[in-house]
């Protein structure tokens, strides 16, 4: 017994130490790669005329798929915003996923829709489609509305994929505000790569809380007034500018957020469409598409664009935030565990040796290890006498590392897109980065743990319940 404790003790101490060092190093490497990649991206696109795409026969045709569930309050405006996007060959398909409110009636009235006799080809099986609507007004000829029975976001997107027949589709959350040139910027990487097939491009999600929106366009960009949303600004900046860019470079991107991404329809259909049995369908799809490409020995790339193209409201209270994080955690776990064959599988290249293990260890396991560490510390604290100077030194180290990392992210933002033009806002962000590790981070760890718990419980008793709602953002919309 004594030896077991001794070994356990050794494992925890050294394991955590190695883990911590590994995570620090990976962060540093990622941010360095991201930095260089970002510089290159900015230089490369400083003299690009995106409008050249519009009038070109090379513009790839794109369908915008916007699934909506109980979005009655905002849907009319949001569709208007989608229709006003700058692009030549595109259509907008809005999928009403059996909303319980008056969304459909509102759209029909506003856009003069009428039912058409559409022969739906269920290439990917979905819940039955009740009807397809087109506008009688030629001005809205690009709009098509699908009314279907409720089946969740993945199911709605699949229905949209079935109906769309353009080469690419963009999956977006209907309550997002897209920049006018969003599609142009998203398709450019597809045109650029001459050696690989670009099967998906992802964009940055930026936070629209407290920003002014007029006619479906961002008019004034402000730092959110709400503290929780402000924390997320920092979090998103860090994640998108420092992390994704590097993954894109390594072609190891495992996630294109469901809020905005362009996908190659053919590959999506061939790899089976969105999986409606998971809450993290966006990540799951990317992993499956990658697997499809690798298993069929096709050269491919998944690219990510750092331009701020898509603005969305994020949860501004802990209740909604906890639900969102819970869902993310479960989604990550489902994807990782469904594709455990990838784990350190050299056959899958970067995906198997880098992407999957990284997510496994540093995304899923991190909050758990962190909690074990805290409990272990409490145990040691209760039993013996910790070395306080060393304790505070290490505490200071982790804290300062976090702050420095955030500060670098703010610097990246400052040197690239600098969307927060007021000096005050930048200083506020820096202050936020000082307090974030103390308040926001522990809360997040707690949410992640709860997600883990719910995943385990869910597998036993909850089954496949609660798949109906979409994003939790819906709830906070005024």
């Amino acid at each position: 017994m004594y030896y077991i404790i001794k070994i356990l003790n050794f494992l925890i101490e050294n394991g955590i130490f190695v883990y911590a060092i590994a995570i620090f190093i990976s962060y540093i490497i990622m941010s360095i790669i991201s930095g260089f990649e970002m510089i290159r991206y900015m230089r490369k696109n400083s003299f690009v005329d995106y409008s050249a795409i519009i009038s070109s026969p090379y513009a790839p045709p794109v369908t915008i798929l916007a699934p909506a569930y109980n979005e009655g309050n905002t849907i009319v405006e949001n569709i208007r915003s989608l229709l006003s996007i700058h692009y030549s060959d595109f259509e907008v398909i809005v999928i009403n996923d059996g909303s319980k409110d008056d969304s459909l009636e509102k759209i029909i009235a506003q856009y003069q829709l009428e039912k058409v006799d559409y022969m739906v080809n269920y290439i990917i099986p979905t819940k039955p489609v009740r009807g397809i609507y087109k506008s009688t007004n030629k001005a809205y000829s690009k709009l098509l509305v699908i009314d279907k029975e409720n089946g969740g976001k993945a199911d709605s997107l699949n229905a949209g994929i079935n109906i769309s027949n353009k080469k690419y589709f963009a999956g977006i959350d209907v309550d997002c505000i897209l920049e006018e040139d969003a599609l142009l910027k998203m398709v450019k990487p597809i045109l650029e790569d001459s050696e690989n097939r670009v099967i998906a491009t992802g964009g940055v999600i930026r936070i629209a809380n407290s920003c002014k929106v007029k006619d479906g366009k961002m008019v004034e960009i402000n730092l959110p007034k709400n503290l929780i949303a402000r924390f997320q600004v920092l979090e998103y900046t860090r994640a998108f500018l420092m992390g994704r860019m590097a993954w894109s470079r390594l072609n190891g991107l495992l996630l294109i957020s469901g809020a905005f991404g362009v996908f190659d329809r053919e590959i999506v259909v061939k790899s089976g469409g969105y999986d409606h049995n998971t809450v993290g369908e966006d990540m799951e799809l990317i992993v499956r598409m990658r697997r499809y490409m690798i298993e069929n020995e096709l050269k491919y790339r998944i690219v990510y664009i750092p331009d701020p193209l898509c603005w969305t409201e994020v949860p501004d209270n802990l209740k909604v935030l906890s639900r969102q994080r819970d869902r993310w955690t479960r989604g990550t776990m489902e994807t990782l565990f469904n594709h455990m064959t990838l784990f350190f599988n050299p056959k899958y290249g970067n995906l198997g040796m880098l992407g999957h293990p990284y997510w496994f260890f540093f995304e899923w396991l991190a909050p758990i290890i962190e909690t074990i560490g805290v409990f272990y510390f409490i145990l040691v604290f209760a039993m013996g006498n910790p070395d306080w100077p060393f304790f505070f030194l290490l505490l200071g180290f982790t804290y300062l590392f976090a702050v420095t990392y955030s500060a670098w992210a703010i610097l990246f933002e400052e040197f690239t897109f600098a969307r927060y033009r007021r000096k005050r806002d930048v200083f506020r962000l820096l202050i936020i980065s000082l307090i974030e590790p103390l308040f926001y981070h522990p809360i997040n760890v707690w949410f992640a743990l709860r997600g883990n718990f719910h995943y385990l419980i869910g597998n036993i008793s909850w089954g496949k319940m609660e798949k109906k709602g979409f994003t939790d953002k819906t709830i906070i919309k005024k």
């Binding site: 003790n9 080809n121 272990y376 030194l393 290490l394 982790t398 420095t404 500060a407 590790p437």
Partner: protein, 494 residues
């Protein structure tokens, strides 16, 4: 979504390591016949210190096998001092050798026993050593005495603090600099705009005033002026565009563009190429030629664009010997440049190119510009072994919309893959030739793929006349799926 991970607490757990084997303390395991007094003697430290390090109160008790913490620095130093004392008193010669052997003697009292010496008076000495130094001294001392992990982490911490402060200043500095430059830019922008418009409205603009030439020596003014001129130029054609080019030359900006084109950074060079192309500066064509096949794809695209604009007679000549695979983005930009010089070359020249990307481009462009002379050559490429080239040829023939290759396309349908099949039906639909009716009908009735069936039904619908009657008669005896397909195809709102 990306998981926010700050690993804030992560390293903290390592204090556990510290708690058990901290740099300053060692553990003493209590053995038989030992008490605190003896242990304190063993290490040569005051008994009260041992008590305080181990939180022992008046009624303390220590257990056999238990651990007692002893501060490290006392161990050797005081002990050696005591040995010095002992040796002095007992005239025992202490060499390194004897010090080592003395380590084997368990406690000092046993040592004293050996030399029959009363050691108690010596105990006053170690207390002097344990005197606490001043705060700063202590901090410095503990830093230098600390082990290297401690030192590294401390230095890293200081580095982090410093870097955050530096970053803050960089951001501040940048903001101030940007603000200053923006003020300067806004000051001259209006004047320059007025000047350029005046220049455009004058019938025969004279020379650029000296004062402006002097102002343009400054890079801020120059960049504002150049940007304004170029953006205006890109929206103009004909006479006024030529006037702007003349202004550019007479303002002495040519040499700066050339300097940019020779710059060692690729992104400045690319901008330089762009300016050369727009301002028709043909002198440096050789330089541009060198970069047509550059490994840097952006630079090569800019060079190609410049080449096209500077060689209006044979703009796409570089296609003849391109070895690399041109990206669609590059071809798109070539097309934009072609549009700028208003030239449509005969793409037949590259239709049989061995470079796949060039061939695809030529086929596509033959279709877009409806170069009917090339129909035969495009049709020939339907036999190509490459699926992409076949598809491009099918689409191009569809765009040309002449019924000649209908038969060939229908033959091809049998052997093609599904994507190309749907393209064939689309192209045949665009050719709107009544000879296709039996083919469409067959596909609509016999194919299994619903998309193909719908497309061919649409093809029938587009033909009107006889095809329409045929559809109506088929509709009567159709199964539900076919009925749905026909209704779908007939609905012109879709």
């Amino acid at each position: 979504m990306y998981k926010p991970l700050l690993i804030f607490w992560l390293l903290v757990q390592n204090i556990c390591v510290a708690a058990q084997e901290s740099p300053e303390f060692i553990n003493h395991i209590v053995r038989e016949k030992e008490n605190v007094y003896r242990i304190s003697l063993h290490y040569g430290v005051p008994i009260d210190s041992v008590k305080s390090w181990n939180n022992l109160d008046e009624k303390y008790m220590i257990l056999l096998g238990g651990k007692l913490k002893i501060r490290k620095q006392f161990k050797t130093s005081s002990r050696s001092i005591m040995i010095d004392k002992l040796s002095a008193e007992t005239s025992l010669v202490v060499t390194p050798d004897t010090t080592n052997s003395l380590k084997n003697i368990r406690t000092l009292d046993s040592l004293a026993d050996v030399y029959k010496y009363n050691y108690l008076p010596l105990l006053s000495e170690p207390f002097v050593i344990s005197k606490e130094p001043y705060f700063f001294e202590r901090v410095l001392n503990s830093f230098f005495k600390a082990n290297y992990i401690f030192k590294t982490i401390l230095l890293l911490n200081l580095f982090f603090i410093l870097s955050v402060v530096v970053l803050l200043f960089i951001i501040l500095f940048r903001r101030i600099k940007d603000g200053y430059i923006n003020i300067r830019k806004s000051k001259c922008l209006d004047r320059y705009r007025d000047f350029i418009t005046d220049w455009l409205y004058e019938a025969h603009p004279s020379n650029v005033p000296e004062s402006l030439l002097y102002e343009l020596k400054d890079w801020v003014n120059r960049s504002v002026f150049t940007a304004e001129l170029l953006s205006l130029h890109s929206n103009l054609t004909g006479d006024s565009a030529d006037k702007l080019v003349k202004l550019f030359h007479s303002a002495g900006l040519t040499k700066y563009s050339i300097r940019k084109a020779f710059h060692s950074s690729w992104y400045v060079k690319a901008k330089g190429f762009r300016e050369l192309a727009q301002m028709k500066i043909t002198e440096e064509r050789d330089l541009i030629f060198k970069y047509l096949n550059s490994r840097n794809d952006i630079l090569s695209i800019e060079a190609q664009m410049a080449w096209i604009q500077l060689n209006p007679n044979d703009p796409l000549s570089f296609f003849d010997n391109t070895k690399v695979h041109l990206s669609e983005w590059g071809l798109l930009n070539s097309l934009v440049s072609l549009k700028k010089i208003d030239a449509v070359p005969d793409f037949g020249r590259w239709l049989s190119s061995l470079n796949k990307s060039v061939a695809l481009f030529a086929i596509k462009m033959s279709g877009v510009f409806k170069q009917f002379d090339n129909v035969d050559m495009v049709t020939k490429r339907l036999d190509d072994s490459d699926m992409d080239i076949r598809r491009e040829a099918i689409c191009a023939l569809g765009k040309m919309a002449i019924p000649a290759p209908c038969n060939r396309l229908r033959q091809l349908f049998k052997t093609e893959e599904i994507i190309n099949r749907s393209e064939i039906i689309r192209s045949l639909t665009m050719m709107s030739d009544s000879s296709n009716i039996p083919f469409f009908e067959e596909v609509m009735l016999k194919e299994t793929d619903i998309n193909l069936r719908i497309l061919s039904a649409k093809g029938l619908v587009s033909l009107d006349g006889i095809a329409d009657d045929r559809l109506n008669s088929l509709f009567g005896e159709a199964d539900p799926v076919l009925k749905a397909i026909i209704i779908h195809a007939k609905d012109d709102r879709i």
